[in-house]
């Protein structure tokens, strides 16, 4: 039995002269929830499309549920549920029709389960898909991806552009999938509070490169903001190691570190500051600092 649902190794995708994904490697363990976060155009959708066999990688290796997505597409698709960013669906069908239509592709389609979700999400069965609101369409797209009880659910920005109520429903449904043992979820998002709620493991991607890839807990455990108020004499930033200046206003400064240890504070204490405080960070702050650090090192 394979312990990883997804395994990407040195994955690269080049469109003409544009490197969309660069040398990306990651693993997703069976039963875990992986959240891929990144700014717009970071390479999230390209990565997902390669995992589904919708795009051919320029270089690298992909294995999803033991299959090579490009070669074994049809076999893989039976085991995966996918909601694309654009949530394309046939607009002229009614909800009932599209559910029936979708069911024909899957031997494992569970009609009772689909009906139950449909009722819970209050989807109007007789309405035409094109008449549905954006929120309803998003819910329907998720239902179509869940109805065959897939081993792996892949969601590309499942709740972007939706109101708080719909986002909540979508999240509840994703959680209900996680509740079933052994189901794996891979999702991309730029809504960091959502990722913080449900992800076990987080990847931060920017300009096609995976900058961080760690269990959410570890990421939070190691990231800290160090606030300091200097007492007359203060060091130049270059003299402080393994920390990065976040903000500074005169004697007051805030530093960021992604590898916190108590002895990191010794170099601050050496200057006998007036005040020295260590604070935990939200995922959003960690994300912003990670991206900023990457951009700065590119300039150097």
């Amino acid at each position: 039995m394979n312990r990883n649902s997804i395994q990407l190794q040195n994955l690269t995708k080049v469109f003409r002269h544009n490197v969309a994904v660069h040398n990306l490697s990651l693993k997703v363990e069976v039963g875990k929830v992986y959240g891929l976060v990144g700014d717009n155009g970071a390479g999230k959708t390209t990565t997902i499309k390669m995992m589904l066999g919708l795009l051919h990688p320029t270089q690298g290796m992909i294995e999803v549920l033991g299959y090579d997505p490009w070669r074994d597409g049809p076999n893989l698709k039976r085991l995966v549920g996918y909601v694309s960013e654009k949530r394309e669906m046939y607009g002229w069908m009614s909800v009932e029709e599209i559910l029936w239509f979708n069911a024909q592709f899957y031997e494992t389609w569970d009609e009772r389960y689909a009906d139950e979700i449909c009722r819970k999400m209050e989807l109007p069965k007789i309405a035409k898909v094109k008449q549905l609101s954006r929120g309803m369409r998003a819910k329907l797209a998720l239902l179509l991806a869940m109805g065959h009880r897939p081993e792996l659910l892949i969601l590309d920005e499942p709740s972007s552009g939706l109101d708080a109520i719909v986002r909540r429903e979508i999240l509840e449904n994703i959680i209900s999938v996680i509740q079933t043992e052994g189901r794996t979820v891979f999702f991309s998002s730029h809504l960091l509070d959502e990722v913080e709620r449900i992800a076990d493991h987080v990847g931060i991607i920017s300009r096609g490169q995976l900058l961080k890839d760690a269990p959410l807990e570890v990421l939070k455990e190691k990231s800290r903001r160090i606030r300091v108020v200097w007492n007359g004499n203060m060091p130049t930033t270059e003299r402080l190691h393994n920390v990065r200046l976040m903000q500074g206003a005169g004697k007051e400064e805030a530093y960021y570190t992604d590898d916190f240890r108590e002895d990191l504070l010794d170099q601050f204490k050496a200057y006998q500051p007036k005040c020295l405080e260590v604070e935990t960070l939200s995922l959003e702050e960690i994300f912003v600092e990670t991206i900023r650090a990457a951009k700065e090192s590119q300039w150097r």
Binding site: E172, R197, I198, A199, L216, E217, E279, S282
Partner: protein, 130 residues
């Protein structure tokens, strides 16, 4: 059991649950023998990963705050009295620490803080008529 998740303060979610349950036990909002919601239910209510809830329950069990009864669920432990006192003191200690930090920033000597503390104690005693 009402738990509030705050995603802005940087404290890991599992730790927020652990702290709030401890607090509830300490102040008597949860009594020995009370049943906690199942992992599944709490994860659904809070819209968080069930693994996170499971992790906080494991931590609470390790700390002796709750006990798991096979097939029945999680319950507040019967013997939480000692921990209860400890927890209560910890909560107060945190408040005292905050006041001391503030005093330090405002350049008030510890000796004066001590005097102030006794003054306030007298004040509270008078008010409560003791």
């Amino acid at each position: 059991m009402l738990i509030q998740i705050d995603l802005t303060n940087g404290v890991p979610i599992f730790l927020q649950i652990v702290r709030q349950v401890k607090y509830k036990v300490a102040v008597g909002a949860l009594m020995p023998g009370d049943q906690l919601p199942s992992v599944r239910q709490l994860a659904g209510d809070l819209r968080i990963n069930p693994n996170t809830v499971a992790k906080s329950y494991t931590e609470l069990e390790r700390a002796g705050i709750i006990v798991t009864k096979r097939g029945a669920g999680c319950f507040v432990a019967e013997k939480t009295v000692i921990i209860e006192k400890e927890e209560r003191l910890k909560i107060i200690a945190a408040h005292v620490d905050r006041a001391l930090t503030e005093a330090f920033h405002l350049d008030i000597p510890l000796k004066e803080v001590e005097t102030l503390f006794h003054q306030r104690m007298e004040h509270v005693k008078e008010r409560s008529g003791q």
